[in-house]
């Protein structure tokens, strides 16, 4: 198939496209609408399947029942408690994990020796499952908030670290040389050239890390929590209430998507300079 616009023949050239002036809100709205199609279809199909009896209610209750559950949690005030405590834990853990990953990742990405000494250990730790960390963290830090937040930070750390190291090691030598010409110290070089150049990769890492933060929260809340979405999930499983389990999964999905949308927006804002397909005039 030959692209139409490539031929020099009357009538085959695509007629000129006008730059749509109705950008902004309208486009955001359209994106949102498109993004909602699939989830809504899935929910409807699920509801119908449940009503018709394809899904046994004690295994997979209908969305309407889940919604009722969530509303009842909202009414008795426990919803806010679960959500806010989990959100706080994830955000704190995310902040700490990201900060650690930036510092260590910058050192490892920049200094060959640091990489050789530190990287193998981190790569080995990276594949240790969250559940395996739980007893170790209880041992080291007890069952208070610090150990919960640290565990989440560990989960966040690895993808951010990995992406930042890869990002730094992929920075164009040509740009680094510009910094060297201006006699930047390694710290300045990192701050003024390497990190901005590695930013796209860094943000991807943050998004990946945030996802892991949400996952690690369950393990974290196995450490003596009495509130939170992860707690809710485990209690739901332990008390055999699929509506609680699925309500908590749904809340995980919604909060995860929400926090990710925030990062995506930051990505969009801070990568406007990229000469990529997305940033066409």
């Amino acid at each position: 198939m030959i692209s139409e616009t490539q031929k020099w023949k009357v009538g085959q050239r695509a007629s000129p496209q006008k730059l749509s002036s109705s950008k902004g809100l309208f486009r955001v709205g359209k994106g949102f609408a498109l993004g909602s199609i699939l989830p809504i279809i899935l929910l409807i199909a699920w509801e119908i399947a449940a009503r018709v009896g394809l899904l046994a209610p004690h295994l997979l209750p209908a969305p309407s029942i889940i919604l009722e559950k969530i509303i009842s949690m909202y009414r008795d005030g426990s919803l806010f408690g679960h959500v806010s405590i989990t959100l706080t834990r994830v955000l704190l853990g995310f902040a700490i994990g990201t900060a650690a990953a930036v510092v260590i990742g910058a050192i490892v990405g920049y200094a060959k020796t640091a990489e050789q000494v530190l990287d193998p250990l981190f790569q080995a730790f990276r594949s240790i499952p969250s559940l395996a960390w739980v007893p170790l963290f209880i041992l080291w830090m007890g069952i208070g908030e610090p150990s919960k937040i640290s565990l989440i930070a560990v989960g966040v750390f690895f993808p951010v670290y990995l992406n930042i190291v890869a990002g730094i090691q992929g920075v164009d030598r040509k740009l680094i040389e510009v910094g060297r010409i201006y006699q930047l110290t390694p710290f300045q070089l990192t701050k003024r050239i390497i990190l901005p150049a590695a930013l796209p990769s860094f943000i991807t890492g943050m998004r990946s890390g945030l996802g892991l933060g949400w996952m690690f929260v369950v393990a974290a809340e196995l450490m003596g929590a009495s509130e939170g979405l992860g707690y809710l999930l485990v209690v739901g499983q332990n008390t055999y209430s699929p509506d609680t389990v699925i309500a908590s999964i749904l809340l995980f999905a919604i909060l995860g998507k929400g926090t990710d949308a925030l990062l995506k927006w930051i990505e969009y804002r801070s990568l406007k300079w990229q000469d990529s397909i997305n940033n066409q005039a």
């Binding site: 004690h58 007890g142 069952i143 003596g224 929590a225 209690v235 332990n238 008390t239 055999y240 209430s241």
Partner: protein, 306 residues
């Protein structure tokens, strides 16, 4: 708190509560512990245990002073060196049994030969299954034990993924109530009791407080016995389960023998032997000795005689 020296009062007592220990829920709900210890200037902290394994983890890592577990779980941990002792029996629960789906051809333990049975390794249902099999003249090798978490086991049973399930409450009560699952085999004596454990170090340093806690548990036990309706309601509210399920669960709890005694030792020893053949408890362990090290009736005897 825990580092306080012998004879001195602790600054803080850390108690656990769990949905599988209804008395602990009552105790927490009414704030009796806070009341008692406030007078002495001791703080009380409540920590929730999601299961015996978590309670033991907390005990081991000095995160709680008292933890509620199944007797067998405490035994396995003790065998691995956990510095704990069981000082009180909060109930004799019949929380596990063998379950098959409604209409299943399996009616008897003998029918399980060659079938798939779901159980969570190392937990009371697993021990129960092994003992039931041994009782019926079968061994673990005659069936296919599928290691699934309790909730997943229930689901797998209902979806027909396994033929039978060594169930645990409240999952079991719920499958019974909601989908008419059948019992293949029940035997309250094969359940290993719910034991309240204390860290040995705490018991050694603060024997008085151990007695006080037992006293409080006694108070809660009596309340539960006297108010079964309200206890069921409390359980259903706290754990977020339906009231009829909670009632069923409570009915299966026998709160009559709080002082650790010979019948408890016997039941736990029997579990220990099965565990030893499965190599979950070390082969060279002297079960009798281990059980007597674990079970310490001294405090309860003193309190309850009084």
């Amino acid at each position: 708190s825990s580092s306080a020296k012998e004879g001195e009062k602790p600054e803080k007592i850390r108690l656990d509560y769990a949905f599988y220990s209804p008395t602990s829920l009552a105790l927490k709900k009414f704030g009796w512990a806070e009341e008692t210890f406030k007078k002495e200037g001791i703080e009380v902290e409540w920590i929730q245990s999601q299961g015996s394994n978590k309670a033991l983890e907390f005990l081991n890592s000095d995160s709680v002073d008292f933890g509620s577990t199944a007797g067998a779980a405490a035994l396995i941990a003790k065998d691995k060196g956990a510095p704990i002792e069981s000082v009180y029996i909060y109930s004799q629960p019949e929380w596990t049994a063998l379950v098959a789906k409604d209409g299943s051809p399996i009616k008897d333990v003998k029918d399980l030969k060659g079938k798939k049975v779901a159980a969570t390794f190392g937990t009371d249902p697993h021990i129960f299954l092994l003992r039931a099999l041994a009782d019926a003249g079968l061994s673990a090798k005659d069936v296919q034990i599928v290691n699934l978490q309790h909730a997943d086991g229930a689901n797998a049973l209902l979806k027909g993924q396994v033929d039978a399930w060594a169930g645990l409450d409240p999952h079991m009560a719920r499958t019974e109530v909601e989908s008419g699952a059948q019992y293949i085999y029940r035997n309250p004596d094969f359940n290993t009791y719910g034991t309240l454990n204390v860290r040995s170090e705490f018991a050694k340093n603060h024997p008085e407080q151990v007695e006080q806690v037992i006293e409080l548990y006694e108070k809660a036990r009596k309340w539960t016995l006297e108010n079964p309706e309200e206890a069921a309601k409390l359980l259903s509210e706290e754990a977020g389960i339906k009231e009829d399920v909670a009632k069923k669960q409570l009915e299966r709890n026998n709160f009559s023998e709080p002082v650790p005694g010979s019948q408890h030792e016997k039941a736990i020893s029997a579990a220990g032997e099965v565990l030893q053949t499965e190599e979950i408890v070390k082969k060279d362990t002297d079960i009798k000795k281990l059980v007597s090290e674990l079970i310490n009736p001294k405090y309860a005897e003193k309190v309850i005689k009084k």
